[in-house]
């Protein structure tokens, strides 16, 4: 009883064959033997290029001095415990900032996207906020808050530089995170909003149950990139005299005039950010695959 007489592009059937359709005949098995030549060429060229670079650097006249100054094994081992302690603080601050930024940015995003004439002040606030804090260098905010506010000795307010440093970072990054959230919300198809409304969901319910979960999935890679950038900016707090990894490395350096402790800090940062970067790559690839499969219209 198929009355939808043939449309001009009947071959769309083949393209969209979804699951749940009668099983088609199995295609012939994929060719198993694999062509290794490109892989081998890749490995070979990488080894040659980087090997040559290492060889040239190693032969350079200055190299032993550089090595002593930056990659002195004994100095690295000696400074490691302190720098690791400091890095632990970096991680804690990082975690606190991620949560604070995530929540505050969500609030700002809701201010920004909820509709209704009475909510106009919130909307204006969110717009001005994002414009202002996105235009401010994080360093400037950190100095302003971290040194400035404790110096005021305001009664009832915490006077710890660390606390105000975290506040500064949160205020600054929330501006970016708000824009990321918002782009994720914009990318959710309008039909989803119409469906939520027609089911009787209020604006907030529609956000919570229908829009935000999808928006969040849309922007997870972008949020992770932001988290990576944040991890590095946490180190700026060292200028407030907070004993994070960079500060500890600096203390060691000022005692020994050897920079290897900085290398320890650098390696610790890389060890945490590189896996995150790979995770972003993986999520991005997965999303693209899902889009290509054309899950939703």
């Amino acid at each position: 009883m198929n009355r939808g007489a043939s449309s001009p592009d009947d071959d769309s059937t083949a393209r969209r064959a979804g699951s749940g359709e009668p099983v088609r005949q199995k295609p012939p098995a994929r060719r198993v033997e694999r062509n290794w030549t490109p892989t081998l060429i890749s490995i070979f060229s990488v080894v040659v290029v980087f090997g040559a670079a290492a060889w040239f650097i190693g032969r350079a006249e200055q190299w032993p001095r550089i090595r002593r100054q930056f990659f002195n094994w004994d100095a690295m081992v000696a400074s490691f415990p302190k720098v690791l302690d400091g890095f632990w603080l970096n991680l804690k601050v990082w975690g606190i900032c991620i949560v604070a930024i995530g929540v505050w940015a969500l609030v700002l995003t809701l201010f920004r996207v909820l509709k209704g004439p009475w909510l106009a002040p919130l909307r204006v606030f969110a717009i001005v906020y994002v414009d202002f804090f996105r235009g401010m260098p994080a360093l400037l905010l950190i100095v302003l808050f971290g040194f400035g506010i404790p110096a005021l000795r305001l009664p009832g307010l915490p006077s710890s530089a660390l606390f105000w440093g975290i506040v500064a970072i949160t205020l600054s990054y929330a501006a970016y995170a708000t824009e990321v959230y918002r782009s994720g919300i914009d990318a959710v198809h309008d039909g989803q909003r119409a469906a939520a409304k027609s089911l009787g969901l209020t604006q907030l319910q529609a956000m919570r149950y229908a829009i935000l979960p999808q928006a969040f999935r849309n922007v997870l890679p972008a949020l992770l990139n932001l988290a990576i950038a944040l991890q590095k900016d946490v180190a700026i707090l060292s200028i407030l005299g907070i004993r994070d990894a960079v500060r500890e490395a600096e203390i060691y350096k000022s005692q020994t005039f050897n920079y290897s402790s900085y290398m320890v800090a650098a390696i610790l940062f890389l060890v945490t950010t590189i896996p995150l970067a790979r995770l972003v790559d993986y999520l991005t690839r997965r999303d693209r695959r899902r889009r290509l499969q054309g899950g939703m219209i």
Partner: protein, 247 residues
């Protein structure tokens, strides 16, 4: 008293007059088909009826009560009038069961167990019991649309609005969706159906309205309208449909 009464409904999008004084009366258990060229205002009319969009003049009554009356509360109207869209609009991050129970649970406060049972019963009634735990992207278009229809039935609406529900489907999947609509008609559901499936409109509807430029130009029982259209614009439209092989 008609279940739905539309009087002199007028709606602008910006400066553009989209609905130009629509009058339409729909009794309980009646099935009305809306046909007309693209842009004639069919979707907009449906969206006005369940308040997805606001209108500029005229009024719409449900059982004699204006649809913006306070007695409906925040979401009472959406419980009484369901709508299904061309693009399904299932929530992709929720399973079939969660899609169906979302409104009963979160909007109407039905306890989870009860809502789940009701949803399973509905799915079984329409032969979709197997899909309970699946996610929309795992389903075919026809299955997705059937789930969307069931989702709109989960709050027991009195009226169902269907906006080209087969428009995004491959021809071989259309039948299974039309069958559900026929079942609903047999159960006495009041429906307003926007469709390009003229054969289906002729079979299932009690009355067909032809829209053009935001007006209902002609309104009569399907046999009459399809075999002896009175208005020259209707004749033209049907000729084009027949030429395109869709009747």
């Amino acid at each position: 008293m008609p279940r739905i009464l539309v009087e002199q409904l007028t709606k602008y999008y910006g400066d553009k007059l989209v609905l130009d004084g629509i009058d339409l009366s729909i009794s309980a258990h009646e099935v009305v088909a809306l046909i007309g060229a693209s842009g004639s205002g069919k979707s907009t009319l449906l969206r006005c009826i369940n308040r997805l969009v606001d209108f500029d003049a005229g009024r719409i009554l449900l059982d004699g009560i204006p649809i913006d009356d306070e007695s409906f509360g925040a979401n009472g109207l959406y419980r009484r009038i369901g709508i299904v869209f061309q693009s399904f609009n299932l929530f992709p991050h929720l399973s079939v069961l969660q899609n169906i129970t979302l409104a009963p649970r979160k909007v109407h406060g039905v306890p989870r167990r009860e809502a789940n049972e009701a949803a399973r019963a509905l799915l079984a009634m329409f032969g979709m019991a197997d899909c309970v735990a699946q996610y929309p992207e795992q389903l075919s278009g026809g299955q997705q649309q059937r789930v969307a229809i069931i989702r709109s039935l989960a709050t027991n609406p009195d009226v169902l609005l269907l906006d080209e529900v087969t428009g995004a489907l491959d021809p071989e999947l259309i039948g299974e969706v039309l069958k559900i609509i026929r079942d609903l008609k047999d159960k006495g559901m009041t429906m307003v159906i926007v469709t390009h499936e003229m054969g289906f409109a002729r079979d299932v509807s009690d009355r067909v309205c032809f829209l053009e430029g935001g007006r209902i130009l002609e309104e009569s029982p399907p046999r009459e309208l399809f075999s002896r259209p009175r208005h020259p614009r209707t004749q033209k439209f049907l000729e084009r449909i027949i030429a395109a092989g869709r009747l």
